[in-house]
Structures are given as structure tokens and as C-alpha cells.
């Protein structure tokens, strides 16, 4: 009690007066914040802190884990048999559906003029358990029990069997934090499956909905439309299902439609998630840039001055990137993965007359140079659209979010090596809308 009864002077122990110590700690935290936020120097520190935090997170999740384990082990024989039957039926359905897959793939490759079919984009996947869940309106995150020791890297795609879940944000040695697509700070470039219209789906902060804030009021969107990844963000390859449109409001006064979508992944029910590794040299891969750049971190400094974008003549779109050499990384990256696909896709210019959307998608930047000149006007004309199609209120949601920024930063790289299986739609508000995050 002696310590209690004394005044502030008594408090001058080892660390000086409280005021002094507070100043010290305040400065320290400001420095840390600055380092963490502005120049991702603290990735390593984060790595160790995450390792240290993992036991606590395990402990925190243990009650619910124990509960589900108990439920599972108490499941009756009857229920198990029922589930078994259901799974067997499901597996049969999947097998039958995939029976013609190889044939279709070959046919598709022939149509596109490729010599041989490419292997699937997904190279390897690993099922991870959800250790900890944080689902509130401010943050939608889960923690998986896989980390760098399992080869997980930052910005890796995470899915469940229904659709896209999110991407890894902080990776520790044995655990990784996943930012879900429903997180208000997350945005995923998507494409409407029915007509190829591209846009961006932003998390709305609850597990049941995504917002599509960048669709113009006259956009062709209907309730029930399926949204797939467009492959533009540089994190997710094209063609993975994301969400289904649930509501569309056309307000005569508003320039933009108000569209909501429900994610297909069962975000609040999942106890397991699948981490996917993509073949880096695949044309549809999210880009080698993803892996190499995320190591060095700073996504915010790398954004390009002039994102390569074309609209009507997609081939032309990629050309400016290589031409202007917008950024060393892009061209290097395009060269790295582009040259490989060049070999594979050589015949594609010859096959130009085939449905142009598919063709151009596979055309690597180098070859498109020829057609760039005649279509050079298009990107110019299209460029001014950028600011228009991106409303000012996009900023708050998309700003500093590191995943968003990461995606943004990579989008040009990914755009230079566009995903092959997707048809390019003439109306492309989203490619224009994708760059904004990187400006921040």
C-alpha cells in the first residue's frame, strides 16, 4: 500500500516520470505504425508476432473446436450413413460431369489454335482448418492453420468447394490470416458470367453480401447472375465462381446501379478452406508477380503510371504496356510468363478469325504489338473514362486496404497476361476501375 499512497514523484522509478515514459512509448508506436503502414518493413516482425500469437488463437478457438469435435463424435450411425450416401451421390455426379472434361479441354485448345491443351491453372491445393474466425461488420477474417512452413504465401487464393473465400493477408510460420471477400476492405475483380461484363465486388461487412458499387445504371445485370473472378486483379485466376446477384436497384437519379450479391462460399459455416497454388507459367495464372512481389511487400509503391488497358481491340490493350514499358516489373513479368506462353500460343495470330474474344485473350503482349498501331486510338479514347466510371466514394472502401492495393498493383501485370478462358466483353468499366486503388 505504500506504493499506492505516494504521489507522482514516487512513480519516477526506472523509466523516468510517467510523462516521459508515455512520450517514449507514443513515439515508439508512431514509428512502428509508420513502418508498418508506409514501408512494409515490419513484415518480418509481423511474422514472428503471428507465430507468438498462434497459441493464444488456438486456445481461443478451442472451445468451439471442442464443441464441434464433440458433435462430430456423437453423430449417430444413421446420420453418418446418410451423409455417406449423400457424398457418394455427389461424387458420382462430379465424376460424370468431369468425364468429358479432357475432351472439352482439347477441343477448346484446338479452337483457340493452341498446339496442345494447357494443364489446369490450379497446380496444387491444400485443405486447411479454420482456427479462428472474426466476422463482424468491420473485419471479416479467418485464421487458417497453415503457414509458410506449408508453402503458403501472402496474397494466395483461398476457396471452399462452392466458391471463392478470400486471400491470405498475413502469413505466419504455422498460421495465416485470410481476408474474406466480404471484408469491407476487400475488393475482387469479377465478371458476370452471362455477358462477360466486368466490375469489382467489394465486401459489405457481413457474410451474406457483396456490393457492386461501380456498375452504371444501365448495366446489364439481373438478379441471379453468376459472378466469376475476371482474373484481372492478379490474385485470383479467371473463372472461379464468386457470388450470385441478389438484388439490383436502378435508381433514375443515381448514375450507378445499386447491386448486391451473395457469396457462393459458405463463409460463416466453413470449418475448412482450401488454399490453392496456381501454375505460375500458365497464361491464366494470376501472375508470377503475385508471388515475387508480395515477398518484398510494398504494393503501394509499385503501382504503374499507366495501366495497360484496351477495350475494343483487346490485343491493343496489352501492347501499350510492353510498348511504353510502363514499369520494369510489368514488362519483366510479361516477358517472363509471356514468353513462355508465346511459345505455346504462337499460332494464335494466325487463328485470329476465330472468335476474337477468346483469341485475343491468349495473345501475349509481344505479338499484339502489330495490331497495336491501328487500335492505338482506342486506349486513348478509353482512358478518360477512368475517372468517370469511378465514383469518389470508391475511395474510402478501397484505399489503404493492403489486399486491395496489392491487387490493384498487380492488375496491370495480370492484364498483360490475360486469362485465357474468359471472353472479353466490350463494356469494361472495371478495368478502368481497377487501377484506382493503386494510385493511393
Amino acid at each position: 500500500m505504500a506504493a499506492f499512497g505516494t504521489g507522482a514523484r514516487q512513480l519516477q522509478g526506472r523509466g523516468g516520470s510517467p510523462g516521459f515514459r508515455f512520450t517514449l512509448y507514443a513515439l515508439l508506436s508512431i514509428v512502428i505504425m509508420f513502418l508498418d503502414e508506409r514501408s512494409h518493413w515490419l513484415e518480418n516482425a509481423r511474422y514472428f508476432l503471428q507465430a507468438a500469437a498462434y497459441p493464444v488463437q488456438l486456445a481461443v478457438s478451442s472451445p468451439s473446436a471442442a464443441w464441434s469435435w464433440l458433435q462430430e463424435s456423437l453423430a449417430t450411425r444413421d446420420e453418418l450413413r446418410k451423409e455417406n450416401n449423400r457424398l457418394r451421390a455427389q461424387q458420382r455426379a462430379i465424376e460424370i460431369r468431369s468425364m468429358r472434361f479432357d475432351a472439352l479441354q482439347k477441343e477448346n485448345a484446338e479452337l483457340r489454335g493452341l498446339k496442345e491443351a494447357l494443364p489446369a491453372v490450379a497446380e496444387r491445393w491444400e485443405v486447411a482448418e479454420v482456427v479462428d474466425v472474426e466476422l463482424n461488420s468491420l473485419r471479416q477474417r479467418v485464421l487458417l492453420n497453415r503457414g509458410t512452413s506449408n508453402g503458403v504465401f501472402k496474397g494466395q487464393a483461398v476457396m471452399d468447394e462452392k466458391g471463392l473465400l478470400g486471400q491470405t493477408l498475413h502469413v505466419g510460420p504455422w498460421s495465416s490470416e485470410v481476408i474474406l471477400i466480404t471484408d469491407p476492405e476487400h475488393a475482387v475483380p469479377v465478371q458476370i458470367e452471362r455477358n462477360g461484363l466486368r466490375t469489382i465486388a467489394v465486401g459489405a461487412g457481413d457474410t451474406a453480401s457483396l456490393a457492386l458499387p461501380y456498375l452504371p445504371a444501365n448495366a446489364d445485370v439481373k438478379t441471379g447472375d453468376l459472378l466469376m473472378t475476371s482474373g484481372l486483379g492478379g490474385v485470383f485466376p479467371a473463372g472461379y465462381p464468386v457470388a450470385r446477384i441478389t438484388e439490383v436497384h436502378h435508381d433514375a437519379v443515381q448514375p450507378l446501379a445499386q447491386v448486391r450479391a451473395a457469396p457462393l462460399a459458405r463463409i460463416d459455416l466453413d470449418r475448412e478452406a482450401v488454399l490453392v497454388w496456381f501454375r505460375p507459367d500458365h497464361p491464366a495464372a494470376p501472375g508470377t508477380a503475385t508471388m515475387s512481389d508480395s515477398k518484398t511487400g510494398n504494393a503501394r509503391i509499385q503501382p504503374l503510371p499507366a495501366p495497360p488497358r484496351a477495350v475494343t481491340a483487346p490485343a491493343a490493350g496489352t501492347a501499350p504496356a510492353a510498348g511504353t514499358g510502363a514499369e520494369a516489373r510489368t514488362s519483366a513479368n510479361a516477358g517472363a510468363s509471356g514468353s513462355k506462353s508465346t511459345a505455346a500460343a504462337k499460332p494464335s495470330p494466325a487463328a485470329k478469325p476465330t472468335p476474337s474474344p477468346t483469341t485475343h485473350a491468349a495473345v501475349p503482349p509481344r505479338e499484339s504489338g502489330a495490331s497495336a498501331s491501328e487500335a492505338a486510338g482506342t486506349p486513348r479514347a478509353e482512358r478518360p473514362q477512368t475517372p468517370r466510371s469511378e465514383p469518389p466514394r470508391s475511395k474510402p472502401t478501397e484505399t489503404g486496404a493492403s489486399p486491395t492495393a496489392t491487387e490493384g498493383a498487380k492488375s496491370p501485370a495480370a492484364a498483360a497476361v490475360p486469362p485465357s478462358p474468359e471472353p472479353a466483353a466490350p463494356p469494361k468499366p472495371s478495368p478502368a476501375a481497377t487501377p484506382p486503388p493503386e494510385q493511393q
Binding site: 500500500m1 506504493a3 499506492f4 504521489g7 507522482a8 514516487q10 512513480l11 522509478g13 523509466g15 510517467p18 510523462g19 515514459r21 508515455f22 512509448y25 507514443a26 515508439l28 508506436s29 508512431i30 514509428v31 512502428i32 505504425m33 508498418d36 503502414e37 515490419l42 516482425a45 509481423r46 508476432l49 503471428q50 507468438a52 500469437a53 493464444v56 488463437q57 486456445a59 481461443v60 478457438s61 468451439s64 479462428d132 474466425v133 472474426e134 466476422l135 463482424n136 461488420s137 468491420l138 473485419r139 469491407p184 476492405e185 461487412g205 457481413d206 457474410t207 474510402p396 484505399t399 489503404g400 486496404a401 493511393q440
Partner: protein, 157 residues
Amino acid sequence: MNSEPRFRMVLTTLVALILTVLPLPPWMDPARPAFLVLTVLYWSIAAPRAGGIALGWFGGLALDVFQGPVLGQHALALALITYIFVREHQKIRSKPAFQQALIVFAAIVIYEFIVFAIDGWSGHPITSSARWLHSVTSAMIWPFAAAFLTHRYGRSS
């Protein structure tokens, strides 16, 4: 004599941290009292010498690891209000529980404001008013938390 209260301090802070990051159903989550802040504040007026700003700072940093978008955010906010509490610990300690609760409410509003400001600065602004809700629940739970901690851990040295 010095190490023993410190041990209890760290233990209770750790438990409070776990309570803070424990997953709760979404509708309950915004109303979850800031257990960590309450514990740190309690220790900064009950034993300002042993705990104080360092406890607040490290507790805040630990919270950042779990849920801060920026490292050091909660650390700064918590260090500030612990500083205020350590400075004024005599005045605060002599107040009745109700007034203490009001002071705690003010402190948590300051805390949340700093976190909010840093959120905005670092580009993750969350303007939902639900984020302020926990200052009310924390203030309501303060008398009980303080009584519990005093009963269990205080005054034995």
C-alpha cells in the same frame, strides 16, 4: 514483493486479451466490452508503479497483432489513456464506482477515437457507429470488473 503483483497483472491482462479476441456471434460483437482496456486501466490505478504505461503499451501491441490493421495503433491509444490514469490514479481511485465508470467511459471514448483516427489515417476508415458501442458496455461493466479484480487479485501485497 514486486514480481508477484506483476505476475498477476500479466496473467489477468492475458486473460483479458483472450476475452477480447474470443470469437462471438456477430450481433454480440460490437457490444463486447473492451476487457483488455478495463484490465489495464484497473492496474494503472491500482498499481501505477508496477504496471502502468508499459503494460498498456504491450497489451495494446498484442491486440494489434490480433486485430489491428496497423501495428502500434491500439498500443498508442492504450498507452495514452493509461498515462492519464497513472497520472491521476489517486483522484480516480478515491471516486465512487459510478463516477469511476464515467471516467472510464470518457477514457474509452478517447481510446476509440485515437484508434478511429489512425484507422482513417492508414486508410481503413470504418465509420459505422457500432464501433462506439463498446465504450458504453465497458463503462457499465467497469464497477464489476474492478470489484472482481480487487477481490481476486488486489490488496494482498
